[in-house]
Symmetry: C2
Subunit: 216 residues, 2 copies
DNA sequence: ATTACTAGGTTCCGAGTAA
DNA sequence: TTTACTCGGAACCTAGTAA
C-alpha cells in the first residue's frame, strides 16, 4: 500500500472500530473525506488489493472490514507512536550562575506557602539555573504536569505568577526531587530555566558552572 | 498540512524523537524515503509552513525540529489509535446446538489434564456452541492470548490439538470465566466457536438456542 | 440508486540547474 | 557540497457514463 493512503486506512479503522463490518457507499465516504466518489472507489480497490481491508460490493453500496494485515499495519504505527510518546523524556542542561534574584523570591512567605502545598516541601532559598535548548524545553515540558503558583502584591512591590513543574534532577553524584519553575515575568530568555528543591542543589549535586545535569 | 504528507511527519518524528533537533540533508532523507531530493525539499517547506516542524537551513544541510503543533497532531493520532486498540473488544454470538461431539472430547483424560493446568479447572463435559461472524472472530482473537492444548493418540483413535483462549462470557443472567476453543481439525466452519467452562454454560447462563451471549 | 471504467485536466514529481 | 527554482512528463484526480 502507498504510504500516502494511510489516511484512508485510518478513516476505515475508525469506522469499523477495527472489527465490525461497515456498510457504506463510495459517495458517502467521498463526502466525508472531501474527495470524489471515483477516487474513493479506486482507493478502496487499492487498499483492498494491498490486503489491508476486505471489501464486498452489495446492492446498496460497499461493505468494509479491516483485514488482519490492516490491523497489523496500524498496530505497528500505534507501537511506534506509543514508543515516541512514552519514552522517558529528559532535558540536559549546563549549570550557570543566576542573578541572585532566585534567592530573594524564594524567601517570600506567600511563594513558600504555595510551594509547600504543591511540592510538599519548602524550597531552599536559592535557585539552580541551567542553560538549555529552548526548543528542547518546550518539548520536555509538554510531557510534564504544570502547576501554577499565583503571584501576589506586598506593600513594597508585586510578585508575578510562576509555572511549576515537578521533576527529577540527577547527575553522577545524586538524584533528587526538584521542580522546574518558569516565572510569568521571565528575566531569562527561554534558554535558561530555574530549578528549586528542598536542599541547595549546587551542594547536593556537587556541581559548579558548566557542569551538566539531567532533568527527567 | 496535506493528510498524505503524514508519512513525512512520522519519519521526522522518529528521527527527532519528538524533541531533539535533527541535522540532516534533503538528499539524505530522499535516499531513506526513496524519493527525490527536490521532493523532500518541497515537502519540508510544506510541512514547515503548516507549522508542524521548525526548519533551519545550514551550510551543511537542514536542521529539523518537531514543533508543538506537530507533536499535537501526532499525539492526537496516537490517541485515536490507542482508543481503537485498547477499547474493550467483544464478540457477540448466538447459541446453537453442537453435534454432541464436544461432550465426548471433554471426557478424554488427556484433554482434561491439560485444561486443568492451563485454565485451573476441569471443564464441564460439554461445549456451548455459538454462531458468530467469522471475521469478527479473527479480529477478536487477535487481541487475546492463545494457549495450546496438545493432541494425543489412544488405542482407539487420535485426538487433534486445540487452540484455547481464556475469555469471559456473559449475558443478562450471569458472567463466568470460560474458554473459547478452536480444534485444529475443525468440524465447524469458522462461523461457529465452542466454549467450555467449569460448569454447564447452558445452565449457568440460562440460555436456549438462538439466545445471544457476549464473549469478552 | 450503486460501483467503477475511460478520458481529460490538474497536481505532483524529479531532472536539470542556479544560487 | 548545500537548498530550492523551473519545467516537462508522470501520476493522480474527477467528470461523464456504462453496467
Amino acid at each position: 500500500m502507498n504510504q500516502k493512503d494511510l489516511y484512508i486506512l485510518l478513516y476505515l479503522a475508525q469506522k469499523t472500530q477495527l472489527q465490525q463490518s461497515f456498510k457504506t457507499s463510495t459517495s458517502l465516504i467521498a463526502a466525508e473525506l472531501g474527495i470524489s466518489q471515483q477516487t474513493v472507489s479506486r482507493k478502496l480497490l487499492d487498499v483492498a488489493s494491498a490486503g489491508m481491508i476486505q471489501r464486498r460490493v452489495t446492492l446498496s453500496g460497499v461493505e468494509i472490514r479491516m483485514s488482519p494485515e490492516g490491523r497489523k499495519h496500524l498496530f505497528s504505527l500505534y507501537g511506534d507512536l506509543k514508543h515516541l510518546f512514552t519514552a522517558k523524556q529528559e532535558l540536559i542542561g549546563a549549570v550557570t550562575s543566576g542573578l541572585g534574584e532566585g534567592r530573594f523570591y524564594m524567601k517570600q512567605p506567600l511563594y513558600k506557602k504555595q510551594f509547600q502545598s504543591i511540592l510538599g516541601y519548602v524550597p531552599f532559598a536559592g535557585t539552580l539555573n541551567l542553560i538549555v535548548d529552548r526548543f528542547a524545553v518546550d518539548a520536555f515540558l509538554a510531557t510534564k504536569k504544570m502547576q501554577y503558583i499565583n503571584g501576589f502584591v506586598t506593600k513594597k512591590r508585586s510578585f508575578g505568577g510562576l509555572r511549576c513543574y515537578p521533576i527529577l534532577i540527577h547527575n553522577t553524584n545524586n538524584t533528587i526531587n526538584a521542580a522546574l519553575i518558569i516565572p510569568d515575568r521571565n528575566i531569562h530568555g527561554h534558554d535558561t530555566v530555574e530549578l528549586i528543591a528542598a536542599e541547595c542543589l549546587r551542594t547536593v549535586l556537587q556541581v559548579k558552572n558548566n557542569d551538566e545535569v539531567v532533568v527527567q
